[in-house]
């Protein structure tokens, strides 16, 4: 078809930060030993936090539920190691706030085996039952946003879904979590796709992978199922290619209308890690209690891809990677474009933690802010075609209402504008603040 010929393998605008994936892109995933203590925040996902089910002093086995989902847009939290609950208390959270968390003193002598359990046979299940199993296992989007996965598996009746898009773009610099998952567990990814296609009732699945991961593309192509319409789509290397809306536009040629969900254009997007996690539920019955995390950057002695128990503290992970270099100066949860910096080594790695990037002074040093010279670089980088230059001047004046009129709410805080700004204006930080102010204002209006 003509539209297929004209279709580009990338979106318009975007930026090209140095990829820096060579630290870990060919390093095999290692399983990290259980630490002495794990910290499980009850808020590890978008939606309502889980409700604690355990009290201090209680004994838990590995994979026991310690927090129950609070409603449909919420997921339960499971113990990632056997031990004794030390406390349920406020603890530093990767997003920089304090969050209620279950602290477990790990039993050093436990074999860390889960209780005997029944593994659901996926072939016989109705879509609703699959959704329930996925929620029960506490699965969230492992690409960073941590949106509960089961919610996406239950599209409303009036928006039929025809395609499953598997997100293996991994456009953030440094991170190789999805890359290694695709290379080392291709069968699990394919099995997860099979289950998802059945649950969603779709005929077609497309795995989008950036071209800087040729081994992942090759491995996935070699393991494609013969009885299903699954294909691999190599994507141009550009940030933010892995953003849901950008990926959908490349794969389907359609833009998700503002304020609408991907289902509106007939697609569901899932991260490869989440898909592998779903496969695991129906293979071994294991809920989401461990995940692959890239620990990397010039500030880490031994950059690694690790299989980490959820709730492991930053300190233990860094020690396992042989510590920090002398010039390490900033630790980032997630990728350097959208991740958050933490000063506290007791912060736990959670379900949504894609990586830990330790930067040195050459990258993380503060830069002097200059006035905006209207060079237009931000306009040519914004993947959703906003005018960050205008929005930035409105933000400086505190004119949030006008920012909304200039479509601030369409901003997904990808950081491209801040990345290119030669005057080093903290645009995306100002936009995050603006969006928060507007949301708070809305909430106040609704309450009144």
């Amino acid at each position: 078809m003509l539209s297929d010929l004209l279709r580009s393998d990338t979106f318009r605008h975007g930026v090209h930060p140095p990829e820096r994936k060579s630290y870990t892109e060919s390093v095999r995933i290692r399983r990290m030993p259980f630490p002495d203590e794990i910290v499980l925040p009850l808020r590890q996902h978008a939606g309502r936090p889980a409700i604690p089910l355990v009290r201090p002093g209680e004994r838990v086995e590995r994979a026991d539920k310690v927090g129950e989902a609070d409603g449909f847009i919420s997921v339960p939290i499971h113990a990632s190691a056997a031990g004794r609950v030390r406390d349920v208390t406020l603890w530093p959270h990767p997003d920089g706030s304090m969050a209620e968390s279950v602290v477990i003193e790990v039993d050093r002598w436990s074999p860390q085996l889960p209780r005997p359990r029944i593994v659901a046979q996926w072939e016989g299940l109705e879509p609703e039952q699959v959704v329930r199993e996925v929620q029960k296992a506490g699965v969230v989007g492992l690409g960073g946003a941590a949106f509960p996965t089961h919610v996406k598996l239950l599209p409303p009746k009036d928006t039929p879904v025809h395609t499953l898009i598997v997100n293996g773009a991994e456009c953030e610099p440094y991170l190789t979590t999805d890359h290694r998952t695709m290379v080392e567990y291709p069968e699990r990814v394919q099995f997860g796709i099979r289950i998802m296609m059945k649950a969603l009732g779709v005929e077609k699945a497309i795995i989008g992978v950036e071209k800087n991961k040729p081994d992942a593309i090759e491995t996935l192509r070699a393991t494609l199922p013969s009885d299903l319409d699954v294909s691999v789509l190599p994507l141009t290397v550009k940030y933010p290619q892995g953003a849901e809306k950008m990926l959908i536009e490349v794969v389907t040629g359609r833009e998700v209308p503002t304020g609408k969900l991907p289902m509106h254009v007939g697609v569901v997007v899932q991260n490869v890690g989440s898909i592998a996690c779903i496969a695991e539920i129906f293979e071994t019955g294991q809920p989401l209690i461990e995940r692959v995390v890239t620990v990397t950057g010039p500030g880490v002695r031994r950059p690694s891809n690790l299989l980490v128990p959820v709730g492991t503290k930053l300190r233990d992970v860094l020690e396992f990677c042989e510590g920090l270099t002398d010039d390490a100066s900033q630790i980032v949860f997630g990728g350097p474009m959208m991740g958050s910096a933490t000063p506290d080594l007791d912060t736990p790695l959670i379900k949504g933690t894609t990586g830990v990037v330790v930067l040195t002074e050459s990258e993380a040093r503060p830069r002097q802010v200059h006035p905006c010279i209207h060079c237009g670089r931000c306009l040519e980088s914004c993947p959703v075609f906003l005018n960050p230059s205008l929005l930035g001047s409105l933000a400086q004046a505190g004119r949030y209402g006008e920012m909304e009129e200039s479509n601030l709410m369409d901003c997904m805080l990808c950081g491209s504008c801040s990345y290119v700004c030669p005057s080093h204006i903290p645009l995306s930080q100002m936009f995050a603040l603006g969006k928060n102010m507007l949301r708070r204002q809305k909430a106040k209006e609704n309450a009144a």
Binding site: I331, G339, H374, L379, V384, S418, A432
Partner: protein, 359 residues
């Protein structure tokens, strides 16, 4: 505890990390908002690179016009830089924008221009062209052009006195050292028309080869068309200027004047003459592309460039002045806020405006 690296404001202590550093010392971690990596570009780097590309132009001016060129450019730059230093933000000189304004203003003045006038022009350009609006990034008009427009209004004779080539390179091309507030001595000065003046008032067309290399009368920096074009290509490749602006200006001028030339080759000069005479090249490459005073949207850049091109030909052919680049750019500078508003791109996932109206 070891000393904090860099500034202290954003640094918090991460307590003792066993075995992490050889001496078990404490490390200090920075916290900041994302993104944590940044492109290598910076505003001072852009400005100083542009300044560096002006050096060959200043050299060319000195080659053709002798020591007078350096005196005039130096005076204009001193006026601009001193004004920024006295009345601008603290540390604003470091961003390099005042130096660019001063040098550019010097380059569009005649060789025999009194230094005190050039100094006043530079001071006016920065003071009233930039600082009064709130400094870098806030001004509506190109400060160098505003400085020149002021000089044109204040000293109409001095600024249109184009000295003829002298026998010795060392000879001054006019009364550069005229006393402040005094008119220059012009009694014994031999003047020569600029190519545009000669064409407009005498019907004489200058040789193209002379126009290309700059062996003609005119302002200091505007004569070497080819050199300016080459520097423009360099800046465009480095993405330090928006190529759409010079491209659309030059294409519009070439097309418009070419059309007129076809209609009546005797009355209207050819496109090559129009492109390489007067201040068009330096205007299109260095003045119109000033990021602050040109549109931010790519579509806006085309409209802005086409507007300048049309105005230049209109003023040159039918206006009372031989040259119109300065007024064409200043006029379009004033249009920039409207162009920006009218050319906002469609936001991702939004309907097109027309369709909204239809629906």
């Amino acid at each position: 505890m070891s000393a904090a690296r860099g500034g202290a404001g954003d640094v918090r202590s991460a307590d003792h990390v066993t075995g992490m550093t050889p001496q078990d010392e404490e490390i200090l971690l920075r916290i900041a908002a994302s993104p944590h990596v940044h492109s290598p570009h910076s505003t001072p780097r852009i400005m100083w690179t542009v300044t560096a590309t002006l050096v060959p132009l200043v050299a060319a001016a000195a080659w053709w016009f002798g020591p007078s060129a350096l005196l005039v450019i130096g005076a204009a730059t001193a006026g601009a830089v001193l004004t920024e230093r006295l009345f601008g933000r603290r540390g604003a000189l470091g961003d390099g924008s005042a130096a660019i304004t001063g040098i550019l203003l010097g380059l569009i003045l005649p060789a025999g221009f009194p230094m005190w006038m050039a100094f006043v022009g530079g001071a006016f350009g920065i003071g009233f062209g930039k600082l009064i609006f709130g400094g870098l990034g806030q001004n509506v008009f190109n400060p160098a052009l505003l400085g020149r427009a002021f000089l044109q209004a204040a000293f109409p004779t001095a600024i249109t006195t184009w000295p003829a080539d002298t026998a010795s390179w060392w000879a001054l091309r006019g009364d550069n050292f005229a006393w402040p507030l005094m008119s220059p001595e012009t009694a014994d000065l031999v003047t020569a028309a600029t190519p545009l003046g000669a064409w407009k008032f005498e019907g004489v067309e200058t040789q193209l080869a002379d126009l290309l290399i700059g062996r003609t009368g005119g302002s200091l920096g505007e004569t070497s068309g080819l050199l300016i074009l080459a520097l423009g290509v360099f800046l465009a490749l480095k993405k330090y200027l928006d190529w759409r602006i010079p491209a659309s200006i030059l294409a519009t001028v070439a097309l418009f004047s070419g059309l007129l030339h076809l209609l009546d080759p005797v009355r209207y000069a050819g496109p090559m003459f129009m492109l390489f005479s007067g201040g068009l090249m330096i205007g299109a490459v260095y003045m119109a592309t000033d990021m602050v005073t040109s549109p931010v949207t790519p579509r806006g850049a085309w409209i802005y460039g086409i507007g300048i091109g049309l105005l230049v030909v209109l003023i040159r052919v039918w206006g009372g002045l031989p040259e119109g680049v300065m007024y064409a750019i200043l006029l379009m500078n004033a249009m920039v806020p409207f162009i920006n508003r009218a050319t906002q791109p469609r936001v991702f996932g939004h309907e097109r405006k027309q369709r909204e109206a239809a629906a």
